[in-house]
Each structure stands twice: as C-alpha cells, then as structure tokens.
C-alpha cells in the first residue's frame, strides 16, 4: 500500500476521532483512574505464584497495558469494518486501488498509536504511585509489542472476514476476547488456574507477550533472555497473519461475487 494511502487513512481516523471531542478527552483520561484503582486494589491482594518484582501492582499494571494494546489490534479491524459498512463507505474503499489488507492494517494504526500514548500515561501514573521500571532494552519491548500486535491484528482480520459475509456477528473476537481476560495472564498468573486451564493458557499468544513484557519492563531483560517468549510469539504471528490474509481474500471474493459489499 502506498505511503500517501496509509497517511490518508491515519489522517482520516485522527480527524474522525477528534470530531467526537468529548469522547476523545474522556478516553484519554480514563487510564489515570485505572492506575489509581489498581494501586489501591493491590494494597490488599496477594496472589499465589506471583514472583514479579513490584508485586501485584506491577503485575496487573503491565498486564493492563498489554491487554489494551492487543485489544486495540484485535477489535480495531472488525470495529472499523463494521463502521465502514454502516457508513456506506466500505464498497468504495475496497474498490479503490489501495490493497484491502493494507487498508485494514492502516485502519488500526491510529488506535495503536493512541493506545501507546495511553500505555505511557498509565505507566507514568504507575511510576508516580511507586512502580519501579528497569527497562534496559527498549528494542526487546518493541519486538514483543510488534509480534503481539501482528498476532492479534491477524485475529482481527479473521473476524473482519466473517463481517464481510455476514455483516454483523462473528465468533472470533467474543471468543478470543473472553479467553484473554481469563487465561492471558493479565489480572492473575495462569499458574493459579487448574492445570488444564494453565496448559490452555500456553496456547494464547497473550500469555507469552505478558511474560515477555514483564521481563523487559520489570526485570530489565533483553532479547537474548527472551527466547522462550519470542519464539512462540513469532510462531503465532507467522501462522496467523497469512491465514487471516487468505481468509479475508476469500471473504472479499465471495462478497464481490454475491454482491455483499454494499450490505450493512
């Protein structure tokens, strides 16, 4: 996809977001409340099996940051697709010279940038409340974030494939979204779960991403120490991205063949 097309999508999304000014301001400030909430909650929560420097506050704050990030990637594509269908712009967009996969990925860029700003705000608030970070390898942080976003954006594109054909209702985001909170190691470590659920957690990219993020942010680890996290994350991304592109291409062919692009 051409640079001007990516820039045009980013600019459009920013202009649309800013056109709902109150919503934009309220969303931007919401992280501060969750930082305070987790701070006081962690004052009396002890979780078995938590061996994270900084205790539960550090554990849940890093988990929350990651969850926001991957949720933006997961829901971004399907949300945007649904909005374009309802607005009546989807048919026009997918018939432009810009490649459909490029449009989809570009349409989550603003969400990811805003989530990055939100994550910085959240972590800054955490630091103000006594959270100590030991980030010595920013590159490791970027690699983990990139692989996580790739995996979850792929799942989002899979969800979008369903939406192209059925307009509303897709099984991917409700299923994955529910599993993330339960098994993803965001609010509590999977080690406290029954063994079969703890084993199932290892089938989710988020649990590896959570381990990696905590190791980088709280323990100062670098890429060399993260093989056990990066390899599974890379495997998920390498598997899911081509699969999602294939699924979306098939759904788009079907939508053009059956005349479904203009439906909403």
């Amino acid at each position: 996809m051409s640079g001007p097309a990516v820039a045009a999508v980013l600019r459009r999304d920013l202009r649309l977001a800013l056109s709902y000014r109150l919503n934009f301001l309220l969303t931007a400030g919401s992280s501060l409340f969750s930082a305070v909430l987790w701070f006081y909650l962690s004052a009396f929560v002890t979780v078995r099996g938590t061996e994270v420097p900084g205790g539960y506050f550090a554990f849940v704050m890093t988990g929350t940051v990651l969850l926001q990030y991957v949720t933006a990637a997961l829901h971004g594509v399907s949300r945007r697709l649904g909005e374009e269908q309802a607005a009546g712009t989807l048919e026009f967009l997918l018939s432009s010279p810009a490649p459909p996969w490029g449009l989809l990925l570009a349409s989550v860029l603003l969400d990811l940038l805003l989530r990055t700003a939100d994550a910085l705000l959240l972590l800054g608030a955490g630091a103000a409340l006594g959270l100590e970070f030991h980030l010595r390898h920013p590159l490791a942080l970027l690699v983990i974030a990139g692989l996580s976003v790739a995996s979850f954006a792929a799942l989002g594109i899979l969800a979008g494939s369903f939406l192209l054909v059925f307009q509303r209702g897709e099984p991917v985001t409700p299923l994955v979204g529910g599993l993330l909170a339960l098994l993803g190691g965001v609010f509590f470590p999977p080690s406290v779960l029954p063994p079969f659920l703890a084993a199932a957690a290892r089938l989710l990219p988020l649990s590896y991403a959570a381990d990696g993020l905590r190791a980088v942010l709280l323990e100062g680890k670098g890429l060399a120490d993260l093989g056990g996290v990066l390899l599974p994350l890379a495997f998920f991304a390498a598997l899911l991205l081509p699969l999602s592109f294939l699924a979306f291409a098939s759904a788009l062919r079907a939508a053009r063949r059956y005349g479904l692009l203009g439906r909403y």
Partner: protein, 252 residues
C-alpha cells in the same frame, strides 16, 4: 439493437453476465442471502468511444446499477469481459474510472468536504499536498469551493452530488460512471449539473450516465443504451417516449 466492439474504445463490454448466485441453504438463512440464483445482467455487449457521452436507461431493476458496479469492480461478473482502453478491467483499471452514485452514504459525514476529498485522493495514491490542490481545483470547476470547509452532513442533496462528482474526478479518470446523478435534484440544479458535462474537465471525459429522464438523455448525448430485463434492447439515438416505454417493457 446492440453495438459491437469498436477500435480504440474507452470502454468495451462483451457478453457481460452477472447472476447473484444462490447461497447454500443454511448459509442463505444465516446471511439472509438468496436461496435461488438471480440473473441480473444477461449478456450485455457495447462499447464507448473516448470522449463520448452516453445515457443508460431502463426500468428500476433493469440492471443499470449492477452494470456500473461491475465496471467499477464492486462486483465480480459471472461471465463475459470488461475492457478499459483495450485492457481487462482489474485493480489497475480503478485508476482509469471514476464513479459517482446517488448514494450519499459513501462519504464521512463528520468530515468536511475538503477532508473527504483529501482522504479519497490519498486512497488513489495522491500525496496529501497534491490531493488538497486537486480537491480545490476540482471544487473550483464544479462551483463547490464555498462548501469545501463545511461538514458533509450539512450539505444539501445537490451539493452532495457535486461532492460525489468531485471525488470521482480527483484522480482524473478517462471514464466517468454517473449513476442517476440528478435523481434527487430540483430542476435548476439538475440543469446546472448537466451543463457541467459540457464544460471542462468533463467535456473530454468519456461518460456513461444513467437516468430515468428522457429529456436529460437527449441533452446529455446523441446515444442511448436501454436495458430491459438485464438485456440491451437499444443502442442508438434516444427514442421517443412511447417507443422507450415499449422497449423498457421488453417489446421492440
């Protein structure tokens, strides 16, 4: 009577067919799609010469919009071929066609007209600065300049039609597809819209315009295509009103 392929044609449509396929039973129920095949276009053949302005007529459901959508790439034809300047209409063909429909839903209503045009220019690969310059130039030619900074939602139907036309012209296509562009316009606005077709930059562009208005068909060009039941039943000068009614009903 149907026209055949002509040398150096801007658009050639050959034996074009489109059928909404039947969906498999449970899938038809889930997606609320057709459970029986629905043929819409049944072997259309015609061509347009560069710079020619041609009207497309037919009753509701005759296949006019489906034809536009197939040319523009919104739909994949079931058979036949569409050639743009002699080459098969694929993704690259989207640079060569512009499409303006009566459907105003294809704009972002919270963005201004200029912001919308900049965005769509970007999708067609125009850098931001160039997209803005072209949007202003095109708006100037269409008399849209005073409305560029208004949210699209605030525009009247006539100005929305012009915004749709401006969008279709941004990437300077050789072929313009106009699907009932004057349907919701009052008489003076419709006349002004038709006058635009005789002015730069539209005068040099090949135009296929669908309409239900016979006077409009006569004003736009000397050639008219009439569809009935998915078939081309006339390719020639706009007929008299009574003849047109008979053609649309499918009897020559």
């Amino acid at each position: 009577m149907t026209g055949g392929s002509r040398g150096g044609a801007a658009l050639t449509v050959r034996d074009l067919r489109f059928t909404y396929p039947a969906l498999w039973g449970p899938l038809a129920w889930l997606a609320r799609g057709p459970s029986r095949p629905l043929p819409v276009l049944k072997g259309l053949s015609f061509s347009l010469s560069p710079g020619e302005h041609v009207c497309l007529m037919g009753k509701n459901g005759a296949g006019k919009t489906t034809l536009f959508k197939a040319i523009q790439g919104f739909l994949d034809p079931s058979g036949g071929e569409i050639l743009l300047e002699g080459r098969p209409a694929g993704r690259e063909a989207r640079w060569r066609t512009g499409f303006a429909a009566t459907d105003e839903r294809s704009f972002y209503h919270r963005l201004t007209v200029l912001e919308n045009l900049e965005f769509f220019g970007g999708l067609w690969g125009l850098p931001a600065k160039e997209a803005r310059v072209r949007a202003r130039e095109t708006a100037e030619r269409l008399g849209l300049t005073p409305h560029l900074d208004r949210p699209f939602s605030d525009l009247s139907t006539g100005w929305r039609q012009r915004a749709a036309l401006a969008r279709a012209l941004l990437h300077r296509p050789g072929l313009l597809l106009l699907d009932e562009p004057t349907r919701s316009l009052d008489a003076p606005s419709a006349a002004r819209f038709r006058a635009l077709l005789r002015e730069e930059p539209l005068r040099e562009v090949t135009v296929l315009l669908s309409t239900h208005n016979l006077e409009e068909a006569r004003e736009v060009g000397s050639r008219c295509l009439v569809l009935a039941g998915g078939r081309l039943v006339l390719d020639g000068p706009p007929p008299a009103a009574e003849g047109l009614s008979a053609l649309m009903e499918g009897s020559p």
